[in-house]
């Protein structure tokens, strides 16, 4: 009997606590990959998010922040479980992160169904920009096909007449190859999708590329696979023969390991570490000081999520219950982005510039430099398919 009374009392206390008048902390659920060969990406995102919070006095909208980091293990089925856990048992206010398009697509339904505000800081599945767009989901990155479209435009500028396209066989790989094909005016002499993520030997595909005799190769291989692809491309002696154009294959994470192999291989990106604006200078300098390495675009996009959330919370005076107002505040994107200007399209995907980046050797270091702006204020081509409900 006493036990039963105690249990009832305990239950009362537990059920009573959510009725507290004001929210005391902002809870953020953060999903990325923190283990395995691509952990470097997740760590860069986490570092940048933490740095963003540091810059904000460890507060969002003036309230203290609690971040719960979850590892998706690079797997869609784990990503969706962790997403559900963050929504249902941690009851987070925002979910931030997602590197991989396939992980995001698997996790989208619980996010949208629970009306949890989500800031996607990398994955750019084309469906998210179009038919699967949601009032609750925002992206601080891009749509998958925008970056390769910029590469395609650059290949036209260089007068490339024929190209061989290669990428991994998953949601983003398909979007990327579609992207180049959309803007590249020359002939596409081959299009290969390789097994993902376990195929790391590209001998057969590189032989195929050589046999197709293209004027250029386009490749998309994010994370460690990019190191392997470029290494094997150089080892096969193709570097001097058929130029390589890339998207998301050479970044600050792979560069310290690629070194000379990456010299002279161009890529397109919406953010480069040397973009000349104050927010970016501060971000890059403080990141280098704190973590003794250079941030990548993964980190830059995640750093922007801090500013975005903070601006929106301030606009609604931290009242998370006014979902409509919070959505409108997020849509305004009233914060200082490391990309300079930042605005959302109607589908919550940024409208932004894409730059040409090149690998340069500075003393013993290898760095990425902005060479030119390939396309200004680019909007993805899926926004008309987005009908937000």
């Amino acid at each position: 009997m006493r036990k039963a009374l105690l249990a009832t009392a305990a239950l009362l206390i537990i059920t009573a606590s959510p009725a507290m008048p004001q929210q005391k902390t902002i809870k953020i659920g953060f999903i990325s990959t923190f283990s395995g060969p691509v952990a470097a990406i997740g760590n860069d995102m986490r570092n940048s998010f933490e740095l963003g919070l540091d810059h904000n006095g460890r507060k969002l909208g003036g309230l203290p922040v609690e971040v719960i980091y979850e590892d998706d293990l690079f797997k869609p089925e784990v990503g969706v479980q962790k997403t559900q856990k963050l929504i249902e048992s941690d009851k987070v206010d925002f979910v931030v992160g997602y590197i991989w398009s396939n992980v995001l697509l698997a996790s989208l339904k619980p996010l949208v169904d629970s009306q949890t505000f989500t800031i996607v800081t990398n994955a750019g599945a084309s469906q998210l920009a179009g038919e699967l767009c949601s009032p609750f989901v925002f992206s601080t990155s891009w749509n998958n096909d925008q970056t390769p479209q910029a590469v395609g435009l650059y290949m036209n500028q260089k007068g490339v007449k024929s190209a061989f396209l290669i990428g991994p066989n998953y949601a983003a790989g398909k979007d990327m190859l579609e992207g180049v094909a959309a803007t590249f005016k020359g002939q596409i002499v081959g299009r290969e999708l390789t097994r993902w993520p376990d195929q790391l030997d590209f001998s057969a595909e590189l032989s195929k590329a050589r046999a197709a005799k293209p004027e250029a190769i386009f490749a998309f291989y994010p994370g460690g696979a990019g190191i392997q692809f470029i290494t094997q491309y150089v080892q096969s002696g193709l570097k001097g023969q058929i130029p390589l154009y890339t998207a998301f294959t050479i970044d600050e994470l792979s560069l310290p390991r690629l070194k000379d192999l990456a010299l002279g291989i161009p890529g397109a990106q919406e953010w480069v570490n040397d973009l000349p604006n104050e927010a970016n200078k501060k971000f890059v300098a403080d990141y280098k000081a704190k973590y003794k390495s250079s941030p990548s675009f993964y980190g830059a996009q995640t750093y922007d999520a801090v500013g975005l959330i903070d601006s929106a919370l301030k606009a609604v005076n931290n009242d998370m219950s006014k979902k409509e107002d919070l959505r409108k505040a997020l849509e305004k994107a009233d914060f200082k982005s490391v990309r300079g200007s930042f605005k959302f399209g109607p589908n919550h995907i940024p409208i932004q510039n894409f730059y040409l980046q090149d690998v340069v050797k500075q003393g013993d270091d290898y760095v990425l430099k902005t060479v030119a702006t390939i396309v200004e204020n680019d909007q993805d081509k899926h926004f008309q398919n987005c009908h937000m409900k």
């Binding site: 283990s35 395995g36 060969p37 952990a39 470097a40 760590n43 066989n169 398909k174 299009r191 290969e192 999708l193 390789t194 097994r195 376990d198 195929q199 790391l200 030997d201 001998s203 057969a204 595909e205 032989s207 195929k208 050589r210 046999a211 460690g224 190191i227 392997q228 290494t231 094997q232 150089v234 080892q235 096969s236 002696g237 193709l238 570097k239 390991r257 690629l258 070194k259």
Partner: protein, 305 residues
């Protein structure tokens, strides 16, 4: 035709790598009756050692030699410390014990070398393709892998078939107790065999390191293929491992090279390029299933015990 030759060479190169792994695995399984899932960890260690020693000495070859010695020592230590407890027990115990070793080695590597992985850079003379036949270009380094693996295969053949220690190994495979009764130190023999298996795995790892880069868990995917090879080749047979490794390497590569194009003939281009890689990776397992149905002992079953 020239293109087919080039793709076949790619297949042979993959086959060589698989042979190095499968030979060690099949030796250990055939002679010691031990299922060693941690074989992939030794492959990984070989690569990490080579990257470390090559960076320290500044020479790829010196790094490789030191790495082989280091994997031999680690392999023998693993046998003495862990594997001895597992002999004579059920195969499931082996699986459990060696799976534990995989986790152990992955964490150990993370502690020592960090999570980011390493690079074993090739000398710049290696970064080129050579013309093996008129019009057939092949990466020089992959050619080096083929040649050096063939040399290792030959050495292994001589060691097992033509030397006294090889005779003991073969005798140990057919009748353990009898060899022991004849006054041979069977414990030491097992340690040596396990060390030999480790060296083969380490060699595979260090040769593959410049192509695939060095990272935690790099041995796990390839180990599955190595098991497929010893099942197809016949457990305990080195000759079987060689033939099966070539077969698997060729089927995998040639499948990847030609199946998507073949499928484009009767599927839409999009469907074909999506289904092609998936289907070609199934080919090997279809072959394995066929072998298990029609020749469950494998292509070259080792002499029955």
């Amino acid at each position: 035709m020239l293109y087919f030759i080039e793709q076949s060479l790619n297949g042979v190169q993959l086959g060589m790598l698989l042979f190095l792994l499968a030979a060690g695995l099949t030796l250990i399984f055939g002679i010691m009756d031990l299922v060693n899932l941690a074989h992939g960890s030794l492959y990984m260690l070989g690569a990490y050692f080579a990257a470390t020693f090559a960076a320290m000495t500044g020479s790829f070859i010196a790094g490789a030699l030191l790495a082989l010695i280091a994997t031999l020592l680690v392999g023998m230590a693993v046998e003495v410390i862990a594997m001895r407890r597992l002999y004579g027990r059920d195969h499931l115990d082996h699986v459990l014990g060696t799976f534990g070793l995989i986790l152990f080695f992955n964490e150990l590597v993370r502690l020592i070398w960090g999570p980011a992985g390493m690079t074993l850079a090739l000398p710049s003379e290696m970064l080129t393709a050579v013309q093996v036949l008129p019009g057939v270009y092949f990466p020089l380094y992959r050619l080096v892998i083929i040649v050096s693996t063939l040399a290792v295969a030959l050495l292994l053949y001589v060691l097992v078939m033509r030397t006294r220690i090889g005779m003991l190994i073969r005798a140990g495979a057919s009748n353990r107790e009898m060899v022991g009764a004849l006054g041979i130190n069977i414990k030491l023999l097992y340690t040596l065999v396990f060390g030999l298996g480790a060296v083969l795995a380490g060699f595979a790892g260090l040769m593959q390191a410049p192509i695939l880069t060095v990272q935690i868990g790099m041995g796990e995917n390839i180990l599955i293929l190595a098991f497929v090879v010893i099942i197809i080749g016949g457990i305990g047979s080195i000759r079987g491992a060689f033939v099966a490794a070539m077969l698997v390497g060729l089927i995998d590569t040639v499948g990847r090279a030609f199946l998507p194009d073949l499928m484009r003939l009767f599927l839409s281009a999009n469907a074909a390029s999506t289904a092609g890689p998936a289907f070609s990776s199934m080919l090997i397992y279809m072959l394995t299933a066929g072998i298990l149905v029609f020749r469950p002992e494998g292509l070259f079953p080792a002499a029955t015990r």
